[in-house]
């Protein structure tokens, strides 16, 4: 068929992710909850870093999954080729995503609002094509399998509970960085730019610097989350980094409360608990869970924007 529609999948976790996160056949409740909490921590990092762009910087990117993917592939390659050291993998993820964050910063300097959204959508589409095509780096459609368990200073931390602690620690660190930066002069300048770019420029704020640094910050944090994600699944493929994933991350921020500190976390918890809550509904076929989940968060997006645009955690 000409006109490949390879990435037209509904917004849902890939089968493998679903298995790890939500299928719990014959396993105890505790590992299941640990898995879910780990996923929430990883997506908490993604949502709060997305919020740096969307909420504080007014940079309306819809390409966050691209940077998550870049980080995941970088970390996976380091783990597969050199050493499964978590810090080294995260460092590689940060370097790669920082370099590529220029792809987002440049259009943000050149074009505004709708143009930028479409440009970032485009970046996301092109990235998916590259991820699928660059077999040497990403393993193409099949992805990279057999990523070893993560280690910290030679101590294995890939197992369920230990890895959850690591993810939570990184989440807290990430939140701390956001909290401190947004209270400081950088954060205030950033929000001034978001509220009125021309006025901020007139007051001598360095707009290109602000946008570039905000993009760098948001994207490199997404890269770290991607690295954790790769170790969590021990497998990465392009299906986790599609436009649907990007929209899911945007939805977390928006539903939780855009531009608020706790909003992204609330959104991440809510949207990740949704599929597991749905799986307890009797009479709902398992293959429909994805669609029902989407329906709920689609409706949430519409209704919140109509009646409470500040989100769940936002001030009314």
């Amino acid at each position: 068929m000409v006109g490949g529609r390879g990435i037209h999948r509904a917004v849902r976790l890939s089968p493998r992710e679903t298995q790890r996160a939500f299928r719990c056949e014959g396993c105890a409740v505790i590992p299941y909850l640990v898995n879910l909490a780990t996923l929430i921590a990883i997506f908490g990092i993604l949502a709060s870093s997305m919020n740096v762009l969307l909420g504080y910087g007014g940079i309306f990117s819809v390409a966050h999954a691209t940077f998550m993917g870049l980080g995941a592939y970088a970390a996976a390659q380091i783990a597969l080729l050199i050493t499964p050291d978590l810090l080294l993998a995260c460092l590689a993820a940060v370097i790669v995503t920082s370099v590529f964050s220029v792809c987002l910063a440049l259009p943000s300097l050149r074009v505004r609002n709708e143009y930028f959204i479409v440009a970032s959508l485009g970046l996301q589409m092109v990235a998916v094509a590259v991820f699928t095509d660059a077999h040497a780096i990403t393993g193409g459609m099949g992805g990279l399998v057999g990523i070893p368990q993560a280690e910290l200073f030679g101590i294995p931390v890939g197992g369920g509970f230990a890895f959850l602690i690591v993810c939570l620690a990184i989440l807290v660190l990430n939140l701390l960085i956001v909290f401190v930066l947004m209270r400081g002069s950088f954060g205030r300048s950033l929000m001034a730019m978001r509220d009125n770019e021309s006025a901020a420029q007139a007051l001598g704020k360095n707009i290109p610097m602000l946008k570039t640094f905000a993009t760098l910050l948001g994207c490199s944090m997404a890269g770290i989350a991607g690295a954790l994600f790769a170790f969590y699944l021990q497998f990465v493929n392009v299906e986790s980094f599609t436009i649907q994933q990007s929209i899911l991350i945007v939805a977390m921020v928006v539903i939780g409360g855009i531009g608020t500190f706790s909003g992204p976390l609330v959104g991440a918890v809510l949207l990740l608990l949704l599929p597991s809550a749905l799986s307890f509904i009797p009479g709902l076929p398992a293959e429909d869970i994805g669609a029902v989940q989407q329906l709920i968060y689609g409706l949430l997006m519409v209704l919140l924007m109509m009646f409470r645009p500040s989100g769940i955690a936002g001030r009314h």
């Binding site: 006109g3 390879g6 309306f60 074009v111 436009i243 968060y297 689609g298 519409v302």
Partner: protein, 289 residues
């Protein structure tokens, strides 16, 4: 010959994109609403057509049903989703998110009702025939081209010659002046949504006849329409039509150069080229700064 074949397929897809993009561009030009849910209109129209056929209707009746559903859906979304948000002084991003929410919700409702698989129709029209050695063209190609041209002529007539059409163009040029002349911007924006959404119905029917339709096709159409609107130049319906054709051909020809994975990205590579070289687009008047 391969290139010619791909070119023909590209024109076919491009005609479909042009129809969808023209509607998107009209809505965006007249109301400044970035109507992401345009993709939802596409899917709804397509499945209404299929539902009509399934009920044993004549295909023309089914097309009319698709037209009606598309037009109504566009008007309802404007009236009950966008307008309330704009009244509360919501920014463009608020509208964008709500619009995306509509698209996601509609696609999942379709998926729950009709399943996720591809829907297509097979008729004598859709079977390829060998025109030249190695060049296969299905008769539906001529139907597509003719129908697209007819739609654009009708569309051009409405915008160029009728009072509401002229008022619509005025709305996109200068809303304040339009109000001071005593015309209702609200009613005109509903008209823009109705007209723009109606154009999607033939596109969706052709989509079923050529490439097939599935619940998630809406996202693809939304991406293409928004890219075509920018490549064509904001506020220019003509530009969006040309850009739609261009994107269809680009998507098809890319297959000859690299593998099919790139066909979806092709549109955006064209878009980036335009954003870098000529951000105002093909026929744009205002430069995007």
């Amino acid at each position: 010959m391969l290139y010619l074949q791909l070119f023909v397929v590209g024109i076919q897809t491009g005609a479909l994109y042009a129809l969808a993009a023209a509607g998107f561009a009209l809505i965006f030009g007249a109301t400044r609403t970035f109507h992401i849910a345009h993709g939802a209109t596409y899917v709804l129209a397509g499945y209404s057509f299929l539902a009509g056929l399934a009920m044993g209707w004549h295909w023309l009746l089914a097309v009319l049903l698709a037209l009606l559903v598309a037009t109504l859906f566009g008007i309802l979304i404007e009236k009950y989703v966008y307008k309330p948000i704009q009244r509360h002084r919501g920014g463009f991003f608020t509208v964008f998110v709500a619009s995306f929410g509509v698209l996601i919700a509609v696609q999942s409702i379709i998926e729950l009702t009709f399943g996720r698989g591809f829907q297509s129709i097979s008729s004598p029209l859709t079977r390829s025939q060998e025109l030249l050695p190695g060049l296969f063209v299905a008769p539906v190609f001529w139907v597509v081209s003719l129908l697209a041209i007819l739609c654009f002529l009708a569309f051009g007539f409405i915008l160029g010659r009728t009072r509401p059409g002229i008022a619509l163009r005025a709305l996109s040029d200068n809303p304040e002046l339009l109000r001071s002349f005593g015309l209702s911007a609200n009613r005109l924006s509903l008209l823009a949504f109705g007209l723009g959404s109606a154009l999607v119905a033939p596109a969706a029917v052709l989509g079923i006849a050529t490439t097939g339709l599935q619940a998630s096709s809406g996202t693809h159409i939304m991406l293409i329409s928004s890219a075509a609107t920018i490549v064509g130049g904001i506020g220019s319906v003509r530009g969006a039509i040309v850009a739609g054709l261009l994107l269809g051909v680009a998507e098809s020809l890319v297959v000859a150069l690299v593998n099919t994975q790139w066909s979806e990205a092709a549109a955006f590579i064209v878009l980036f080229a335009f954003l870098l070289v000529k951000p105002s687009g093909l026929f744009g008047v205002r430069v995007a700064r």
